[in-house]
Amino acid sequence: MRKGWMVLAVLVCLLAGGCWDRQELDELALAFAAGLDYDMEQKQVKLITQVIRPGQMKSAESGGGSTGQGGQKASFILESQGKTVFEAVRKASFQISRRVNWTHNMVIIFGKGAVKAGVDKFLDFFVRDPEPRPHQHILVADGRMEEIFKFRPNLEKASAQTLEGMMKNAVMTSEIYPVTLQEFVNDLMSYSKAATAPVVAVIGEGKDQKLQLVGTAVFKREKCVGKIDPKETRGMLWVIGKVKSGIFSVPSKDYGEVGIEIIQASSKIQPKLDGKELTVRVDVKAICNIGEQQGGEDVSKPEKLFRFQKKLESEIKKEIEKAIKRSREMKADIFGIGEAFHRKYPKQWKSLEPEWEQHFPKVKFSLNVKAKLELIGESLRPLHAY
């Protein structure tokens, strides 16, 4: 009797695992990227899904970039429409023999129509449904979205993987600020802070096509209000302390072009409320190395190095000022200055918050940039000096 129960228990564990929701790997179609667009006239959500063929993913060496065994492409796209994102998602499954699974989705890309209509209504599905993960990256497409999905990368199997890799490499230049679904939603929910997302475009024609991140889209609430270029993006990142690494080319008469590598950076935002006047003190600290020097006059001598540091500081300052100027034009608080005021002056914030759009362009910034040059590389003097 006792043994019978044991056998029954083991059988239940083995046979009923997953219950109604069991998912066999060979019955799934994995989505890697979702493109969302909106047709204003027909009021239809247009969804492009990039689905991968798992069998083709593993044959890495077989040539032809995105093609795998038997010349089949490793990924293909599904286009579907619906009144809601969810409807479009289900219709995508309807076009193929398998159910599209969203647990491994890497990127969500918004088209022109979607950013105009407001992105929050399209993101609700990705927050509500248990399958999509909060780590997906949010991007905005510049130009035609299908091109991004049809783009065949050289190294990877699908353009989604390329985009994911680019997000990971963003720290190398700090000219792009990758945002995940979680961060994007967090910014959307904030009344004052403007959400941002990198803009991706396909550049070139035919065989020379390449994917490129061309800037950062700025959202006020759910609607896109403008775009800032990569340099301005770094200006923004200096302020919010998200610069990780990156290269600076500082031109100068004596030293020629000097290539500086940012090693470490941090920032501190201190808001101050003086009557009606809003000021923000931003302290930026950067530690840099000298990576290259093209001119003949040696920059690495101590007294010159200290003087050069000042120049570097003003370069960084210029970048930040550019970003501030753009954000004032757009009246979009991309730095989260409003949040800083909220934290420090919770009482006064209540009256500031509703008109933050008007207040923000009037906020005075006082920038204090401290740059420190640490390493000079393995050379004692520039090669050009000989």
Binding site: V12, G18, C19, W20, D21, V127, P130, R133, P134, H135, Q182, V185, N186, M189, S190, E339, H342, R343, K344, P346
Partner: protein, 366 residues
């Protein structure tokens, strides 16, 4: 006549009570209502819980070796006592079914979307019925291992999400309106702290009655520490978006990503809840059937376990028609609904016992 011959020691009482408190609270962490002030609500609830616990212990130590049903029978007499006892047992039964509702809501919302709730609850009830049939000793011994496991899991998850915590999310301090924080405190006090009222049925099974007070307070403190860790993690990682999710703690587990190797760890939080939900439902089913057996003077509570267990599962199914109804109930009704059971009945019983100078013959059962 003793229905339960099993004995548990002080340590087991502590882990059992801590596990009971963790129950569904590890998932729907207490104090959510207060947003980024939830840690205040948690510690406020802890104080409230300690006061309630002292009332229960005062009541228990006036009648040593007697559980709540026996106490009310002695205090109010046979008829009225049985009535009060049934009223109280109905609450325990309902509470057990509420845990069951949370159980299947959670599984359905996050993992098994298409599986019918009845199947989830059937298997859940089977395990609980099995445990309760084996008696309090077995449940308590289960809790010893499970609670240690939960604490270890919790701390590991917290350490892993440390890198994601934005400390500025906690600022500004004290920004929520006082009424909101007070309501959140009462919510925390009633769920989970006040629910230890169920232990009035279990205290007599502890072999050393003197240990009860110290061990119970320790259990409350342990639970509070774990809840605090959980709320720090949730607010720190999610910030404002914590308001967006039904299960913010679960969502914060989703965000753990260490070198793309340690990902999808939210399932650990899910398992924590399943383990603790099992403990809580077992304790509630056990106390319910024990009480019913005493009210009706049965010789054993064992025949009752299976039917009452399945009724509890069924009640869990029909409690609410949707998840949002459940959330609304927890937020707006539950903190008031529990007052008679958690505060008024035990307190009045204590007062009546004091006034009637009970027990008359100086505690014969020591």
């Amino acid at each position: 006549m003793k229905l339960e011959k099993g004995k548990i020691d002080g340590r087991q009482l502590m882990t059992l009570m801590a596990g009971f408190l963790f129950g569904s609270a590890v998932l729907i962490y207490p104090g959510q209502w207060a947003g980024n002030e939830s840690w205040i609500a948690i510690w406020g609830g802890f104080v409230e819980g300690c006061i309630l616990l002292l009332v229960y212990i005062a009541l228990m130590s006036r009648f040593p070796g007697k559980n709540f049903v026996e106490i009310v029978k002695e205090v109010y007499g046979r008829f009225l006592g049985n009535l009060v006892a049934l009223f109280f047992l109905a609450y325990l039964f309902h509470l057990g079914s509420l845990v069951g509702t949370n159980y299947h809501d959670f599984i359905k919302l996050t993992m098994l979307v298409q599986t019918p709730s009845s199947v989830i609850l059937l298997f859940n009830s089977l395990v609980i019925v099995y445990a309760v049939r084996k008696g309090i000793e077995v449940i308590a011994r289960c809790s010893e291992g499970m609670v240690v496991l939960l604490c270890v899991f919790y701390v590991i998850i917290f350490l892993m999400s440390c890198s994601q915590i934005e400390w500025t999310n906690f600022l500004p301090f004290f920004s929520a309106p006082l009424a909101k924080v007070l309501w959140a405190t009462q919510m925390t006090g009633s769920f989970p702290y006040g629910e230890v009222v169920a232990f009035l049925m279990i205290f007599p099974a502890v072999n050393n009655l003197k240990e009860i007070q110290k061990r119970s307070l320790k259990a409350l403190l342990l639970a509070t520490l774990i809840f605090s860790i959980g709320s720090v993690q949730t607010i720190g990682v999610l910030g404002d978006t914590a308001r967006l999710y039904v299960y913010p703690g679960f969502q914060s587990g989703r965000l753990i990503n260490i070198a793309n190797v340690f990902t999808r760890l939210e399932i650990v939080i899910g398992v924590n809840f399943l383990l603790m939900g099992f403990l809580k439902m077992s304790v509630l089913l056990y106390t319910t059937v024990l009480g019913i057996a005493q009210v009706f003077n049965l010789k054993s509570y064992k025949p009752l376990v299976l039917p009452v267990g399945f009724l509890m599962g069924l009640a869990a199914l029909i409690n609410f028609s949707t998840v949002s109804e459940n959330i609304e109930f927890n937020n707006l009704v539950y903190p008031i609904y529990v007052l008679p059971f958690q505060l008024i009945i035990p307190l009045i019983t204590l007062v009546v016992a004091l006034v009637r100078k009970l027990p008359r013959n100086g505690g014969d059962s020591i």
